[in-house]
Amino acid sequence: MRTEQAVKRAAKPALVRVSGLSKQYVQRGAFSRRKFVIDAVREVDLEIQPRCLTALVGESSSGKSTLARCLALLERPDKGEIWFEGEEVSRQRGRELASLRPKIQMIFQDSAGALNPRFSAAEIIAEPLEIQRLASGHQLHKRACELMEEVGLSPEWANHRPLEFSGGQRQRLAIARAIALQPAFLILDESLSKLDLITQAQILQLLSDLQTTHALTYLLICHDLTLVKRVADFVLVMHHGKIVERGTRQDVLSSPQHVHTRHLLSSVRDLESAFRDVQSGAGS
């Protein structure tokens, strides 16, 4: 039923629309003049529905992260257009771009590497507010503490540094920093991949709660199809820089069309069925 709802909502205008997006990287060998061109993203068209969770799946080096970085406006595409809330944004610069940044936020895979180890938790959350001049002085600290509470961290930890937190808590901290600016679109680049199953489930619940309060749209990049099955409304499958399959979760996971999707699914199914066999006693 949930998928039906999602389909119905698809009639609404998309929050993000991408057409013909391409990105190349040119590398040069250490001591040679030979150039290697890597087509990371090739002619990608996609739409992301508002207030849904769209999952982007694919193997490592399929171009998922490059696409995400383009959507987060951290990387300028070579070709193509990115429409956000009905506006073409891929060519924007300077002040226009700066005013757009709060609306699109990204959470990275390695929370230990993404958060400044010399900042305290409160400073990490307050920094974007300070940059965007949304709060100052005493207000800043107060707002940071509120945000910590919102993501389930005790404000007593406001003066601790990120490396004193556990992996799951650090990911919460990264989420607090991202939602500080009240974004509309949140990109999670493998943010849940390094967490153990129970922590992962807790963070998912938090993301789901935040969606209710903040009307967020998520793009979840991951390679774990078990996770996708649990949370996604829409699924995009990426392979060698192209989107090879797209649709609602039910369509893609229950009747995959592309060979690559089937390949991805079969490796997960093998694991799951082995587990079920043991549980039901067939495997012993």
């Binding site: 998928t3 969770l53 649990r230 490796s267 093998d270 082995a274 043991v278």
Partner: protein
């Protein structure tokens, strides 16, 4: 073969013990899965068996390997065991392999440390091992530096390195968690295959119960440094006794769309 008795590990910086009175034993050729969330002490257990804990850690109890206590052995005695009789497959081979040595040399180095052999003979052995871990282009991989290899290839090199001396016990510390699903499945199948062929005992540390199904004989569930549940995999998976195990098992085969992301505002 291996028996842990009342193993307790305290880190100097922590208030609680990382491991508390761990008791377990395993026989030759047995595969034991260790299940637990991050920070529960799984990796500490692996490191204490290999005598690789930092000097600041306080260890009590005993770890008997063929009736000698690994915790009382001198460093030089431990070195003859480490890599030859007990070896470790790390979570991230990209970090555990040296970036300035060729892959082949790193495997050959382990062999050189434990078996007196001429260099060409070592090279021959290493290449045979690389073939065992189902690597195709053996000559290229033998001469490649780690950064020239893909994630899956690195994993296979790390596995080859840990098996080159045919150890009796291999400890796999989250061997597949940094890989994507398709390669993860390949590496798991490879480990199963190698286990069948060489018959070594294995300790398989993971947070995902699904990886143990059809592979491990027994499972220990560790929660906050203590063993909270222990038994045959089929028995624990079918009828978990501890609430933590139960919660973990339910996350393996999730219902579709269990966490709602579809709020109409």
């Amino acid at each position: 073969m291996l028996r842990c008795q009342r193993l307790t590990v305290n880190y100097a910086s922590a208030t609680k013990p990382a491991l508390c009175e761990i008791d377990f034993e395993m026989g030759p050729g047995e595969v034991v899965g260790i299940l637990g969330e991050s920070g529960c002490g799984k990796s500490t257990l692996a490191l204490s068996i290999l005598g690789l804990l930092p000097a600041t850690a306080r260890v009590e109890g005993s770890i008997l390997f063929h009736d000698q206590d690994l915790l009382c052995l001198s460093e030089s005695r431990l070195q003859t065991i480490r890599g030859a009789q007990i070896s470790l497959i790390h979570q991230e081979p990209g970090l555990s392999l040296s970036p300035v040595m060729r892959a082949g040399e790193q495997i050959s180095e382990v062999l050189g440390a434990h078996r007196p052999m001429t260099k060409p003979r070592r090279e021959q052995e290493c290449k045979a091992m690389l073939r065992e871990v189902q690597l195709g282009d053996v000559d290229r991989i033998y001469n490649a530096y780690p950064h020239q290899l893909s994630g899956g290839e690195l994993h296979r090199v790390a596995i080859a390195q840990s098996l080159i001396c045919r150890p009796e016990l291999v400890i796999c510390d989250e061997p597949t968690s940094s890989l994507d699903v398709t390669i993860q499945a390949e590496i798991l199948n490879l480990l199963r295959e190698l286990k069948r062929k060489f018959g070594m005992a294995m300790i398989f540390i993971t947070h995902n119960p699904a990886l143990l199904a059809g592979f491990a004989d027994r499972v220990l569930v560790i929660y906050e440094g203590r063993i909270v549940e222990e038994g045959r995999v089929s028995q624990v998976f079918r009828r978990p006794l501890h609430s933590y195990t139960n919660e973990l098992l339910q996350l393996v085969t999730p219902e579709e769309g269990r966490v709602a992301f579809h709020h109409e505002n």
